[in-house]
Symmetry: C2
Subunit: 471 residues, 2 copies
Amino acid sequence: MAKAPVLTPQAEDFPRWYQDLISKAELADNGPGRGTMVIRPYGYGIWERMQQEMDARIKATGTRNAYFPLFIPQSYLTREAEHVEGFAPELAVVTHGGGKQLEEPLVVRPTSETIINEYFSKWIQSYRDLPLLLNQWANVVRWEMRPRVFLRTTEFLWQEGHTAHATYEDARDFAARIHHEVYADFMENVLAIDTVLGIKSPAERFAGAINTRTLEGMMGDGKALQMGTSHELGQNFARAFDTRFLAADGERDLVWQTSWGASTRMVGGLIMSHGDDNGLRVPPRLAPTQAVVLAIKDDPAVLAKVREIGAALTAAGIRTEVDDRTDTPFGRRAVDWELKGVPVRVEIGPRDVAADTAMLARRIAGGKEPVAIEALPKLLPGLLDEDQELLLRQSRERRESRTSDVRTIEEAVEAATAGGWARIPWADLGPEGEARLAQDAVSVRCLVAEDGSVPESVDTPGNIAVVGRAY
Amino acid sequence: MAKAPVLTPQAEDFPRWYQDLISKAELADNGPGRGTMVIRPYGYGIWERMQQEMDARIKATGTRNAYFPLFIPQSYLTREAEHVEGFAPELAVVTHGGGKQLEEPLVVRPTSETIINEYFSKWIQSYRDLPLLLNQWANVVRWEMRPRVFLRTTEFLWQEGHTAHATYEDARDFAARIHHEVYADFMENVLAIDTVLGIKSPAERFAGAINTRTLEGMMGDGKALQMGTSHELGQNFARAFDTRFLAADGERDLVWQTSWGASTRMVGGLIMSHGDDNGLRVPPRLAPTQAVVLAIKDDPAVLAKVREIGAALTAAGIRTEVDDRTDTPFGRRAVDWELKGVPVRVEIGPRDVAADTAMLARRIAGGKEPVAIEALPKLLPGLLDEDQELLLRQSRERRESRTSDVRTIEEAVEAATAGGWARIPWADLGPEGEARLAQDAVSVRCLVAEDGSVPESVDTPGNIAVVGRAY
């Protein structure tokens, strides 16, 4: 008799599989307020590892962390016209504080360009103060009409970088550097998610930006997820907040700026990229727990052995957890670790202790075989590297096999509807074609250059639009 | 001619000295909303180091991080009567979201006991789920009538731990463990701040707690600062949220809980404990930058040498920064580093390069003398240890020399007014005496046992009240 599946199968109902996985792997719960979420310890542990890896890359660019207030005076938001138009429908507003109605309502930050520019205007005096490179890790709030855990939540956690530069070129190059050295490097080498790097069409650009670089990942159902964006803000916010510097030539010039962010939405991307019908699969370089050592039953020799192996693996630099909760049936614990996607399980029972072997189960490459216990610390790092590469390869192969080159809007819609992406010359599509795609819920995810690189601008000849359905 | 002091001297005006230091050392700025702050990169770097050290200690207790929503339905707050009474005057309320008035207003969390209990009620089924040990790093909002940067701000950053246990004893012991192993250990061994560990009088207890443990530090002006608290919540929140577990005996019992927090207020405590008329002094174990290597002038040999020394110190495990901004006068940079309180400055000019020596300036122990460059990597760790010990000793000596044993309320007020603390038997003071002290703005900081340890309870015979003025 076949066992009932732990999760709704992906092929049956992908959105429901996603919700099932988040619930059963104990990643998150829905919050009490509309569209909010509670990130449970295992989900938060994954986010903490994302933060560590991203933060190191951000700091390597010379950027330093700071913290700006959650509440932004409503008047700040209105200073940059496109920006307020983009965010006004999504704002949460504090009208009362300390038991009294406030004179000016405070907006809960949806993003921090405005309040940060207010301070940049105070801190930046001369060209010696530039570039000014700041980042903050924070919560932000955007009222969501169709919330979905991790993907679109009213409150989410993110990092938002904000920088000011003396020239257009310096700002542009820095936005590109973040795109490549922070986001692309992290997503490829840690998340093991293949992404297409490109620029947004004018319709999809960040409200207030002159150019937005993006990374688009293809999920298991062929839909796209925007994984991170890096914006050139030009002088739009500098003009609105009069952020100027004394240039070497004695002029008081407006600064050129960038902003860039990636959020807890990446956890959703991780699930939808690497998850399967048995649960999550976490890339080893990201995994808070790379190996779990399980005691099959409550036996003193077994318990001593799992602790000994746990210590040996930890000493070998492997993030290891020992599961000695023998009051819960072994089978249920094994299924739980599979659901959570821990790359390697080392299972120990009395016979294994006697034989000095362990049963080694691999969540990503698959398979289960006995190995000598003493060989584990040297064996595992290589297996984890293989798993890491395998996930990236599977992600890349999915994107390549489900992307087709087309010439007409009808073909593009057809490809997207079938669960994939289409590449169509931007010259053949244009803003009018983009509007027609929207009628079928298909959008331009990004524009790439003819050779697949990130184009100079929207108008660069030969640009190709990558289009698909998106989260 | 004496130079004008960089800061208002402490002896002249301590609060103004504090504000001056925060501004000139670029730790923080006032935010635009009432009582908010902008934490600048240097101040945030100090907070990040606090987070790292605290987080490691929190995790060592078996506690894991999670994240709960910023917005709490107003109805949750009202379920625990004392809790809502304590926090109602301080709340910020969101009444509008996504362009519409909300059906139920949302409170911006002032602390998270209520929303966390809602989820504990879902997650806790049986005794096997206990203890449940969670912590979150988050921003919270409490409307402040008399705000002061880092000490009392409308929004602040903190960690809040929340745990649930099967028995009163287990909860009590865990609250005590956090008090000692996380907070006391961190404050003594990292912050180098001497604190008195005790319990709060009933009047000073957290709203909703049955017992509050506290750590009180004496600031440079003899006033007290509450540096962290660990609460036993009894079954108060469990009752309000019906948080029950199936006990081994088959009964559905209410859990016993704790909560505990420490915040960015500790940055204020750091400044007021260790700062002097020349600026901040950061304990080496905390310092984001332990040593700075300064190029005195723009000379190729000098610049090469500072980078070489910087690399050697970094390789020796010392958190090192190289200051080669020779377009700013050397004297100004030296004053800046002194203001920022970096423990060690290594200054290099052309003559030093020729002689293979560096001028070594010590911010904490004081003094400036030439040392052989090659000796630096081996020399500095020992000096930094000395500095760390010296700061703790100075902090302890201040508290000891400014604390007096008294028998009357008048003597206690006199001691507090003179800038110190008084110790008075709690049996002689009691709640009535406490109310009389309050008329002179003097409060009971904590109760300690006769032998100086943390007492079992408020009613333990022989308890001594430590009283003083406080921030």
